[in-house]
Point group: C2
Chain length 194, copies 2
């Protein structure tokens, strides 16, 4: 039920494009604030709709992406994550933040072991793990689609966890990995309950 | 010049879809034989056209994919490959083979280190390296697009290297990695010189 307030499509999986539409008309999520962290911003919007459809009416932008296989996570890391994480769509998760990111060509021209080494030195997995299960997240890839961003990360949490979410962002952004981020935005949302 | 006999689009890079159209009308390549190695086959065709366009007239199938960043290759492996490999489009490369492959869900559900370990035990890079520069290749990804295959590999070589190319295929197919391949076809081509 993609149209349920505060929902995320059940159908998201490899081989299915998922689309985030930012507009002035209803969606499952109501936008509270748009922030530009690095590089070019995105037009501010009032609502966010998430589905597999082409852009709806009165849409300012549509970002398309896909859920994919694990690119850096090891089996041990996955086990640790699965042990602690909870799914999207928890009733108390009234807040969501969509964070589109684009990394530099220096990042992408590195071989797999070079990128993994930076990911590891940056404590990417341990940082995320420390905020589980409070901060749930889903990564989407879009660089290979020719989109303006490389990743769209979707975060969900209870309103009481907002400060912890800000701390998570601050930790990630202080890492070596983030020196390769050349564009980053935040779209803060709450469930669009009529 | 995508329409030059025996050519491959110059524009192929991350974020650009490249399309392989199999049909009964002209393309840069003339099909000599279609073989089904594992699983479902593909309709036999007479010509292959490669470009970024929607399917042309009299097209039996179109396979879309993208060139992406390295997924398993380490910096050392990349250096060894770059030292030996030559590009696509060599004048003597009259032969090409398109090999679409689909791997099983068991493969895709593994973490990055588990897949890399199998790739390594299977000598994936050393096997390819041993056939350079004679057999040039370009990997394309398509699983994330919801395509019927996960990869399309494009090989080019001189006619005199045909037996060596068959030996390369036999080596790869005898590996542990190939036990995860559940669909594989071969489309053998030669430059379509009018």
């Amino acid at each position: 039920m993609a149209d349920k307030p505060g929902s995320y499509p059940d159908s998201a999986k490899a081989g299915r494009l998922i689309r985030f539409h930012g507009g002035d008309k209803g969606g499952q999520w109501r936008a509270q604030e748009s922030r530009t962290v690095t590089g070019l911003g995105l037009a501010p919007v009032t609502f966010l709709q998430i589905d597999e459809s082409p852009p709806p009416e009165r849409c300012h932008w549509t970002l398309s992406a896909f859920v994919s296989n694990l690119r850096y996570t090891t089996a041990d890391e996955r086990e640790a994550l699965l042990e602690r994480q909870e799914g999207l769509g928890r009733p108390e998760s009234h807040c969501a933040v969509l964070i589109p990111i684009r990394k530099s060509s220096d990042w992408w021209s590195m071989a797999q072991d070079e990128r993994r080494a930076i990911y590891e030195r940056s404590n990417h997995t341990p940082i995320g793990l420390a905020y589980l299960p409070a901060i749930a997240r889903q990564l989407h890839h879009c660089r290979d689609l020719g989109e303006p961003f490389d990743f769209l990360t979707w975060f969900e949490f209870a309103e009481s966890e907002t400060d912890r979410f800000r701390a998570l962002l601050a930790e990630l952004r202080s890492t070596e990995e983030w020196t390769y981020v050349e564009r980053e935005c935040e779209i803060w949302l709450t469930k669009n309950i009529p």
